[in-house]
Symmetry: C2
Subunit: 123 residues, 2 copies
């Protein structure tokens, strides 16, 4: 019945069904990213949170020193609610943390992410 030599594959690609299934399995064993649904969703959130020009400017300022929301509003000239929205995206992405100090919330870059910011000058 089967007209082709490869069961389950109707493709003439370089690597057929069997080969790709094997490669996908190898990737799952190699990268923590692929081992749980949460892992991959966390990584996607991390990159997504950095994929916006305003948020990159926020990160650049936080690389120099910790800043509160109102300072960032002042420096980058965006509305408070918009700034708050962007800061929460960066918190969800694991890029920054906020700590309450009196009536201010001071935002701080997670040091662990520094190596993954290509625009940081490495001396």
């Amino acid at each position: 019945m089967a007209a082709t030599s490869f069961e389950g594959s109707s493709s003439f690609c370089p690597a057929l069904g069997e080969d790709m299934a094997h490669l996908v399995q190898q990737a799952q064993e190699t990268f923590a990213l692929l081992q749980t649904p949460k892992a991959i969703s966390d990584f996607a959130l991390f990159y997504k949170s950095l994929g916006d020009e305003t948020r990159l400017k926020i990160v650049a300022l936080l690389l120099l020193r910790d800043l509160c929301l109102c300072e960032l509003v002042d420096g980058l000239n965006v509305p408070t609610s918009t700034m708050n929205h962007h800061l929460q995206m960066l918190v969800k992405g694991g890029v920054i943390q906020g700590r309450r100090e009196g009536k201010f919330t001071i935002y701080h870059l997670n040091e662990a992410v520094r190596p993954y910011l290509p625009f940081v000058e490495v001396k």
Copy 2:
């Protein structure tokens, strides 16, 4: 006329207008990211292109070896046109490159981006 001590600033934030303007200027001098509109847009595109679960899976597979579109379709089980769209986003983001070989387009990870992929196991 001015009721406050700081012209142009109505804020009692830790750092006021003058201070923030200075910090923003310092950031512009420090980070190439902030020096041209194209630079920041390129970085945003880079991160945006990685901020999607399907595209992270593509990158994981391309870390193992070069693959054509149809192999990725076979391995990740998404429609051809959807895969093509994601591959073009990754190309625009500077994460991968494609080269035509006969009727295939082989996609290849740009080696320069490896250090910025946190999910790569470093041995």
